[in-house]
Symmetry: C2
Subunit: 214 residues, 2 copies
């Protein structure tokens, strides 16, 4: 093990991040199925999967001493490792947010959370969030700077959808206050999920810049 | 600088954390003043202060290479540094959450966000959150394990207050859906603030355990 290079150990760490990114994408897709199809099983799967993501983050953090300790670290290595830790934290948070959506579904089950008029806007948020998760996974492999810059557009789409959801809730919402609060929160979870994906993309660019500097 | 010991450099890092903790406490107090007294100036102060907290976190992260680089790191040092980074992240997040409250106030200003019936429960959340921030600051200095365990009680108080706020909003709320959504979100920001304070307390205990192990 001592013969492994720093790069090999860093690759193992980024392997954990790639898995977390796939899992965070699966989580938001399943949370959206739970939400839009009123699927209790999907909701429970998301919540179980969140624990796996939590453990993966802990695993990533536990790898840091091993990545650095037998190596005389230079400042750029440490920056790389800090970026990796921030990515792990953001991906774990994405899993948390998917689980928050799933919990709202379970709390109201068997009643659905999304009345018909709100289905299109939630479906749009769901689709944009899932797309961002997929791009994150690809980006971890390619580290393409131009792809990373595209994240802002998807994020704007989610923010705009959240705005139109809130407008709908406050202007013409015959389904009651409880429903409006549920949907405002669910919309916010998608919005935060998208923000964290942007955060990951930004860190991946830093990770790449760090690699190039070395 | 090279002659500084690891411990001296770690002390400078924890000094930044202590400052961040005080600032996170000031932020939630001012956010609560903004909210309950409809004070635009207080809200703007919170938002400006949030940028300072963001910079302090970046400063804490930038100190890590210096803390570790001239030192042959052992696993327990790295764990200490990881705890310090998690504390910085949680304190920055507490600042973000106070700023989220301030932004709701500004969005509605000069109209107040909190109608009279909701004042007591919000005041209770505000007071518990401020108390937790103060305890965090003390805990960073004392690292008293028993004090850290008390955080759960304050957190339960905030969670219970959020529950009773939500019950109030869904059962007897004559102020409209927009008001209910604003308050549900504000309550959630306090709840998350308290969660992050618990998170900090847990990490401080780890920080201390790390120090004792060395």
């Amino acid at each position: 093990m001592g013969r492994d290079s720093f790069d090999e150990r860093l690759d193992r760490l980024t392997g954990v991040l790639a898995r977390m990114s796939r899992d965070a994408g699966t989580a938001i897709r399943q949370a959206s199925v739970a939400l839009l199809d009123v699927d209790r099983y999907a909701a429970e799967t998301v919540i179980a999967g969140d624990l796996v993501l939590d453990r993966c983050r802990a695993q990533a953090e536990q790898m840091i001493p091993e990545v650095l300790v037998r190596h005389q670290p230079v400042a750029s290595d440490l920056r790389l490792v800090l970026s990796a830790l921030r990515i792990a934290a953001a991906l774990e948070r994405m899993g948390d947010l998917a689980a928050h959506i799933a919990k709202v579904v379970l709390m109201r089950h068997p009643v659905g959370v999304v009345p018909q008029p709100a289905v299109p806007v939630l479906a749009q948020m769901a689709e944009a969030a899932a797309r961002m998760a997929d791009k994150t996974t690809v980006l971890l492999a390619t580290r393409d700077r131009l792809d990373a810059m595209q994240f802002g557009l998807d994020d704007d789409e989610v923010d705009a959808a959240q705005e139109s959801l809130l407008s709908m809730l406050v202007s013409e919402w015959p389904y009651g206050v409880e429903s409006a609060i549920d949907l405002a929160l669910v919309g916010r979870y998608y919005e935060r999920y998208a923000d964290q994906a942007v955060n990951v993309a930004r860190q991946i660019v830093d990770l790449d810049a760090g690699t190039l500097r070395r």
